[in-house]
């Protein structure tokens, strides 16, 4: 502490410890906020069409087109430590071999509490396709809205906000209108 440099060195030691304790306290404070949010999800229409795969234009595959009616209120999830919410709509189904598949068909990043209510009737953002290329051997699918809360400091948490009431069967594939 005899010179300016020595005093600055001494301050920086305790200061870095204090910063880490402060950020740790902020991260722990996230556990005090146990909010859950609920919403409703309906599938308005689901159509399956024959089309070509994107990478190999000589190969055929079946693609599902979903129109969904989604309303959710995610404002309870915003606390002082929430940086943004990642909200995504998933289609979950089991195929004929008994393997569980989940396909993300729509997502959104919510950065502010004002933008946290979702009330949309929309079509999917990403392609709904099965790895085998066909939906004919696939069991009916449930659609669910899941979210993950990204904090400024701390643990990433996730949950489910809405789910369709019953599983929806995939219709037979048809040729697109030409």
């Amino acid at each position: 502490m005899h010179s300016i440099y020595a005093r600055a060195n001494g301050i920086s030691g305790l200061w870095s410890t204090c910063v880490m304790v402060l950020l740790g306290a902020v991260a722990l404070s996230s556990f005090l906020f146990n909010a859950e949010s609920k919403g409703s999800l309906d599938i308005v229409s689901l159509k399956v069409f024959h089309s070509k795969t994107r990478r190999y234009p000589f190969r055929n595959e079946e693609i599902g087109f979903v129109k969904f009616n989604l309303s959710a209120d995610l404002t309870p999830l915003f606390n002082w430590n929430t940086k943004q919410l990642f909200v995504y709509l998933e289609a979950e189904y089991t195929n004929a071999q008994g393997v569980n598949n989940t396909v993300v068909i729509w997502d959104r990043i919510v950065r502010r509490k004002d933008d946290a209510t979702i009330d949309i009737i929309q079509k999917e953002k990403y392609k709904l396709r099965d790895l085998s290329g066909s939906f004919s051997n696939v069991l009916p699918a449930q659609y669910s809205l899941k979210y993950s809360v990204m904090p400024y400091v701390g643990v990433l948490t996730y949950g489910e906000a809405a789910r369709t009431m019953k599983a929806i069967d995939f219709p037979d594939a048809r040729d697109s209108v030409s």
């Binding site: 502490m1 301050i11 305790l14 204090c18 402060l22 902020v26």
Partner: protein, 87 residues
């Protein structure tokens, strides 16, 4: 003051102890205070800005060699006593 004295910023021993005490008290209090104030206003920006402001204020108080840290200079023995002990 010479440039070297300006850059070194020497303070006496009692001043060093005072500076050390001030640093400890202010840093720990500001950690606690900024968490509580930020939590009350529910804003992480307020937490971080109070902490940074307290740090800046602390540096202004402790880093420069203010006169209050130089109130108790070291009293060296006088020359005659030194000559006696050499014999």
């Amino acid at each position: 003051m010479t440039i070297q004295e300006l850059v070194e910023g020497r303070i006496d021993f009692k001043g060093q102890k005072t500076a050390d005490d001030i640093v400890r008290v202010v840093l720990i209090t500001s950690t606690f205070l900024s968490f509580v104030i930020g939590f009350a206003f529910s804003s992480l920006m307020i937490t971080m800005s109070t902490f940074v402001l307290c740090t800046v204020a602390l540096s202004l108080v402790v880093l420069p060699p203010w006169p209050m840290f130089n109130r108790h200079p070291v009293t060296w023995l006088s020359e005659s006593v030194q000559e006696q002990s050499q014999k």
